[in-house]
């Protein structure tokens, strides 16, 4: 993973004169700002003062009043730093509801920890933080700090509403530069800055006041894409001995290309190995697959990033020797392996994560946190995730699918879009048989194919220990009483991968036998689990992140002398969000149940939310319908 974006996130900030005695009694917060708010930013002044191409000072002064427990997350002082972003000063005070000073935080009370929680990696980012234990609400935390930037690869964005439940009474951002210093910015729900020349420096000022809090809703787009924000980025920059220009993706890519230059040399022995591996293969895709799997078998992900190492990969020879590296190092290594086979590929930067696309296409800047490798073929491009030893060849998963990525070519960078998974790509195809005995116990065997992104939900089980595998299967199956008799998984690692799961379960009293009647739900394995909450008002658009199709066929074999008393009608539902169909048929001692559920992906208007709720409620009802049988005596 690339680093330092964390830091940008934490940089929120003013030169502290002295923290003034508080003028912030909670009672002074305007009533309308308290609606939906858990915390209110009373005042926030941030200044980013660029002194030269590679030096700047960032200051923040922030006063936030916490109204309730949920608001506590908005109060802590958190400062990320590393050798290129040094802390010059920190101060923090706490005030009670009336605005009386109750605590001046001492330096030794501020904790200092590594920014990386995992033990397995080493990076040089650290965090200083202080969290106040409040006896009651409301209370107010005021802090200020100053950071010295050495090298400017990015400028801190302005994002005053950085969470749900946070209202803003007053916030300002000032960007100060030398005269005629080129900068770039992009606005989201904000107007142009006021510009002024003061004491020979260029000032850009933004302000936000009386901004009410955002309320969290299910299935909504990311908050960060909705709130007032200023994105900022350098045009010319200098960082750790490297200079460049970010005014176009092309130039951005040139700089990355420069960092990677000459780092793709493989030892002679590995080059020979590559040639040997592809010897006799004529299909390029097959060669790439063989070499990708070779890379997977030879390496693992270990993140060691220091200074420029946050952006520049280890060279290929080092990865070859150690057998590990981070996303940059492993992608670069894979590129070198392909090069040894005369296959051209593109080092690619991406903003990875399951939430989808976050990259602003028309604003070239350091917006990435991950690297992958693109291999252009005549028809399309194969994308290789190089940090996983288990990922199927060419499978993007939800970590890198359907988004803008920056490919690095000889001529510079180019923004392209990775493919999305469709309802055809993501499928769950299930065939189940249940043999019921006289007491209503069942012997179930089922085979399910999970394709595309659904593959990932299942493939992880194969990597667990035996006891954990059993636990995982037991959790995944929602039948009330069963005993797992056997399980088996097969993985087909293709660009649309397929995981096949075979289960044999002994069902205890699956059919509830009361007196002469039998009851059971024929949808034994595939009931919808969660239903969107019915809310009275809906503010935001509805985002469905995944498209998929579920297909079920279940055949029940009944014991002799049992015949149907009640068979539900079949159901058909159509909606903007998807469709549903189920059907029951009875023939010669068998009940056959079929079901198809399709969910579409996309962004739908807020007004359509009730329809989504209704769709899921209908599906849930249809899924739970029961068959009633009678025993003839």
């Amino acid at each position: 993973m690339m680093r330092s974006f964390l830091i940008a996130f934490f940089l929120i900030v003013h030169h502290l004169a002295v923290l003034a005695s508080s003028d912030y009694p909670a009672s002074a917060i305007p009533e309308e700002l308290k609606k939906q708010a858990d915390a209110v930013v009373r005042a926030q002044e941030e200044t980013f003062n660029i002194r030269s191409i590679d030096a700047a000072t960032y200051t923040i002064h922030r006063v936030v009043t916490v109204l309730n427990k949920n608001g506590e997350k908005h109060a802590p002082l958190v400062v990320g730093y590393d050798p290129q972003h040094k802390i010059k000063s920190i101060q923090c005070n706490v005030y009670d509801a009336r605005g009386e000073l109750i605590k001046k935080v001492k330096n030794k009370e501020i904790e200092d920890v590594s920014a990386i929680s995992s033990f397995s990696i080493y990076e040089d980012n650290r965090i200083k933080y202080y969290i106040y234990d409040a006896p009651s609400y409301p209370y107010t935390v005021e802090y200020s700090y100053e950071l010295e930037f050495d090298g400017l690869l990015f400028y801190p964005d302005w994002n005053p509403v950085d969470g749900f439940g946070l209202a803003v009474e007053q916030a300002t951002y000032a960007l100060v530069t030398p005269p005629n210093f080129p900068i770039r910015y992009q606005l989201q729900d904000l107007s142009e800055p006021t510009k002024a020349v003061e004491e020979g420096q260029q000032w850009y000022r933004w302000a936000l006041s009386h901004q009410s809090a955002y309320e969290k809703e299910a299935y909504q787009p990311a908050l960060g894409s909705l709130t007032p924000r200023v994105y900022l980025a350098p045009t010319d920059f200098y960082f750790e001995g490297y200079s460049g220009n970010f005014s176009s993706w092309k130039q951005f890519g040139e700089w990355i290309g420069q960092l990677n230059e000459g780092r793709d040399q493989l030892p002679e022995s590995t080059q020979q190995k590559v040639k040997q591996l592809i010897d006799g293969l004529s299909d390029t895709t097959e060669m790439i697959r063989v070499l990708y799997e070779y890379m997977q078998s030879k390496t693992r992900y270990v993140s060691i990033q220091l200074g420029i190492g946050g952006y520049q990969p280890f060279d290929a020879a080092t990865v070859d020797r150690l057998g590990y590296g981070d996303c940059k190092a492993l992608s670069n290594y894979m590129k070198a392996i392909l090069a040894a086979a005369d296959i051209d590929s593109r080092y690619t930067l991406v903003h990875a994560g399951a939430y989808g696309d976050k990259v602003l296409a028309d604003f070239p800047s350091m917006q990435f946190n991950h690297a992958i490798l693109g291999v252009p073929l005549t028809q399309d491009t194969v994308w290789l995730e190089c940090t996983s030893q288990t990922n199927p060849f060419g499978h993007l998963s939800d970590f890198t699918d359907a988004r803008n990525v920056l490919i690095i070519e000889k001529e510079g960078g180019k923004l392209v879009h990775t493919p999305a998974y469709s309802t055809q790509d993501n499928q769950q195809i299930r065939n189940t048989t249940v043999v019921l005995d006289e007491s209503g116990n069942g012997q179930l065997s089922t085979q399910t194919q999970y394709t595309g992104q659904l593959y990932d939900d299942i493939a992880y089980i194969t990597r667990l220990s035996e006891q954990e595998q059993k636990q995982a299967v037991n959790e995944q199956v929602s039948i009330p009483n069963f005993r797992l008799q056997s399980y088996e998984y097969q993985l087909a690692k293709d660009r649309i991968p397929v995981a096949t799961e075979k289960l044999a379960l002994q069902l205890d009293r699956y059919a509830s036998v009361s007196g002469k009647r039998w009851f059971f739900c024929p949808n034994v394995m595939s009931q919808v689990e969660s239903i969107p909450a019915n809310t009275e008002t809906r503010q935001h658009d509805v985002l469905l992140r995944y498209a998929y199709t579920e297909t079920d066929t279940t055949v029940f074999t009944l014991p002799e002398q049992v015949y149907p008393e009640f068979i539900p009608e079949s159901t058909e539902i159509h909606s903007t969000f998807g469709s549903y169909y189920n059907h029951y048929s009875v023939e010669q001692g068998k009940v056959v149940y079929t079901r198809t559920f399709v969910q579409h992906k996309g962004v739908f208007p807020a007004s359509s939310y009730p329809e989504l709720v209704e769709f899921y409620q209908k599906v849930s009802k249809a899924d739970r319908q029961q068959i009633v049988l009678q025993k003839s005596t």
Binding site: G323, K470, Q471, S512, N534, Q617
Partner: protein, 679 residues
């Protein structure tokens, strides 16, 4: 001879004979072809990795500047089968530090072995893969990552930790998150120290040896004679002297221990892992008197009573007099005084979420800052009670996440928490003012961990049970009538104890009753819920009651002349909570539970009952848990009464299959339906 105890109270451990007692032949730097060719672990066929061998050894050394030190050496060899096992090649060693003293790691070496063709390729761990990082005030982390790890690789590493902290002799876990084929710990203790080994776990030792041995320290002695001046010049002399000592050599080993995997209903996994800890009992150095360390609970009591952060703090309470006078002004009985003081602390002082045995501030400061750790709060409570002339004493305990308290091994560090005990007439009340939704007679769930100890100078029985006598009860009464394809009527619930506490907490978490109602509507999305009311939300010692009107359209299925209806509209289990078929360690419920569901159902005009679920009652041995289900027709009403009571809180591994089957039967019974037929 020292006696080696096994902690578990139980039937599960004995010293089984018949295991191999020889250590496997594993030398650092030499891997066998057999190890490299291994394809899976016979103990667990899908394990991603297995510990082939783990050797630990603690010895004592002497050095002129630091004096006696402990030297711990570890050598671990792991076979990696799958990529999921690669994490075992990333190693993190925590190093303790305190002031200027710190544990020092040295001699870190490692190799990765791969079989390439028929050739063994050996790759060495170099400095580029090693890092030291500050972790927190008392710990550093030393990390290293082994190179060239692939499927089928064998990795091994060794390191040495030198420590001045003689109280912290390295403990040893024989069990891990992956299976362990051989794990062995050797400790050689010079006669100057007595350490007591403390064992726990659910497997047997393959080796359990203790034998006399001997050792030597080389001590450098500097002497000076003469007082200077011409007649008596100063003479300095340095000589090395050998100090021989007798020692005790311990050797413990286990063979084929399965991976430790977490299951539901546990205290903390630390209570179940197979391990040995070494408790410093006493020291006797040549020329110095014998020193005893925390060998009895009574001595620990004394130490706590003297501590400036525990017993002593309770004496410095002059400044809280006025507060107490205001609080108890007009209180008639002692019981009322206790209730008022408890309520005051519970509501006014906020717990900062840290569980501590020792206070960090005086009662006066806690009153001023209105927040504190658990000890600050409960010692304040005791101070206030005493000021009101109520007999009150601290009770030290170990919380569930801190692990089981083992009475047979007196040790201060077994405690991590303190609550209050007040005597009111004949009654003893245990109080913890940190639990926002606990009534005065309840302890928070974290405290429900067997027993605690009263810390006082008074004689008498000091151990007190923390087990709640009345755990928790939940009764649901549904009065419904069936008309026009709808079930309509009233639901009333009543909760006490922990069940009430949980709902009170849920309501707080949902930002109040309105927020909670939204969640309820979400959970029962096909119901209409009206007139929702909660009684005694803030009266913590009264049962918490809900009432609401409901309309249900999806609860039944109509088919011709028939109506099918599952009467378990609320409170049924979706699934057996114990899904694993077997379990190696006990199920630990924090408190006993009682659930009752009653339904009074009026039938629609013109319908009669065609079928009702059968009456049934089943129980575990000694009525440890009982379930009963009755359904009756009374005129045009159907009456259903379903009860589940779990009385016992600890179920051992061999009782587990019964417990699991008990819940299987409940889940099956809950599926049964009522059938109504039109006349």
């Amino acid at each position: 001879m020292l006696k080696v105890y096994f902690v578990t109270i139980l039937f599960c451990i004995g010293f089984l004979r018949g295991y191999a007692t020889d250590s496997p032949d594993i030398d650092f730097g030499k891997v066998s072809e057999e190890e490299l060719k291994m394809t899976h672990c016979a103990l667990d066929s899908s394990a991603s990795a297995v510990v082939l061998a783990d050797f630990g050894e603690t010895d004592f050394s002497y050095n002129q500047t630091s004096g006696i030190q402990m030297v711990f050496t570890r050598h671990r060899r792991i076979k990696i089968f799958k990529p999921a096992g690669y994490d075992w090649a990333d190693v993190a060693v925590l190093l303790y530090k305190d002031g200027g003293d710190k544990e020092v790691i040295s001699q870190v070496k490692g190799y990765t072995y791969n079989l390439e063709g028929n050739k063994v390729v050996k790759t060495k761990l170099k400095s580029e893969g090693k890092f030291l990082e500050a972790y927190d005030e008392n710990r550093d982390i030393y990390k290293f990552t082994l190179p060239n790890v692939k499927e089928g690789a064998v990795i091994e590493y060794t390191y040495t930790i030198t420590s001045d902290f003689l109280f912290n002799l390295q403990d040893w876990e024989f069990q891990s998150a992956i299976p362990t084929l051989w794990s062995e710990y050797k400790v050689e203790v010079p006669e100057y120290f007595i350490y007591k080994p403390l064992f726990q776990g659910y497997y047997s030792l393959a080796v359990n040896e203790q034998r006399p041995s001997s050792g030597k320290f080389i001590v450098t002695i500097r002497t000076q004679s003469g007082n200077g001046g011409f007649s008596s010049p100063v003479q300095r002399e340095t000589r090395q002297e050998q100090v021989d000592y007798r020692a005790t050599r311990y050797r413990w080993a286990t063979q084929n221990i399965p991976a430790l995997v977490e299951e539901p209903y546990v205290t903390t996994m630390d209570d179940y892992v197979m391990k040995v800890e070494m408790e410093l009992g006493s020291t006797k150095f040549p020329g110095e008197p014998y020193k005893n360390y925390t060998t009895t609970w009574e001595k620990i009591d004394e130490e706590l009573l003297k501590s400036a952060y525990f017993g002593d703090i309770l004496k410095r309470t002059g400044s809280i007099k006025d507060q107490v006078a205001t609080l108890i002004n007009g209180a008639g009985s002692d019981a009322e005084k206790v209730a008022r003081i408890y309520q005051y602390v519970q509501q006014q002082i906020r717990w900062n979420q840290s569980s501590r045995l020792y206070a960090e501030q005086s009662p006066k400061q806690t009153l001023e800052t209105q927040s504190g750790n658990s000890a600050d709060i409960n010692l304040l409570l005791i101070a206030l009670l005493r000021e009101a002339d109520i007999q009150a004493d601290p009770v030290a305990l170990s919380t569930r996440s801190h692990g089981m308290l083992r009475q047979e091994f007196p040790r201060l560090t077994q405690y991590n928490y303190v609550i209050a005990r007040a005597l009111v007439g004949e009654n003893t009340i245990l109080l913890d003012a940190t639990g926002a939704n606990c009534s005065p007679d309840m302890l928070p769930i974290r405290c429900l961990n067997q027993f605690g100890r009263v810390i006082s100078e008074e004689p008498g029985e000091k151990w007190v049970s923390l087990q709640p006598e009345n755990g928790s009860a939940h009764t649901t009464m549904a009065t419904l009538s069936l008309t026009e394809s709808q079930l309509q009527g009233t639901i009333a619930t009543s909760r006490t104890g922990y069940n009430a506490m949980r709902l009170r907490q849920n309501i707080v978490d949902a930002d109040g009753v309105d927020g909670y109602l939204d969640e309820l509507k979400e959970d029962f999305h096909s119901w209409t819920i009206n007139d929702y009311e909660v009684a005694a939300l803030e009266t913590l010692d009264a049962p918490l009651k809900e009432t609401y009107q409901v309309g249900l359209s999806e609860a039944m299925q109509e088919a011709g002349d028939l109506i099918y209806l599952n009467p378990m509209l609320l409170g049924s289990l979706d699934k057996n909570p114990f899904s694993s078929e077997l379990r190696a360690y006990p199920v630990d419920y924090p408190y006993p539970e009682k659930e009752t569901y009653m339904l009074m159902l009026s039938l629609p005009e013109g319908y009669t009952v065609d079928e009702l679920p059968e009456e049934i009652i089943f129980a575990l041995p000694d009525n440890a848990a009982v379930y009963s289900y009755t359904a009756k027709q009374l005129g045009n009403m159907v009456q259903l009464v379903v009860r589940l009571e779990v009385k016992k809180i600890k179920f051992y591994a061999q009782e587990y299959p019964h417990l699991r089957e008990f819940f299987n039967q409940i889940v099956a019974k809950q599926q049964e339906q009522i059938v109504l037929k039109r006349n």
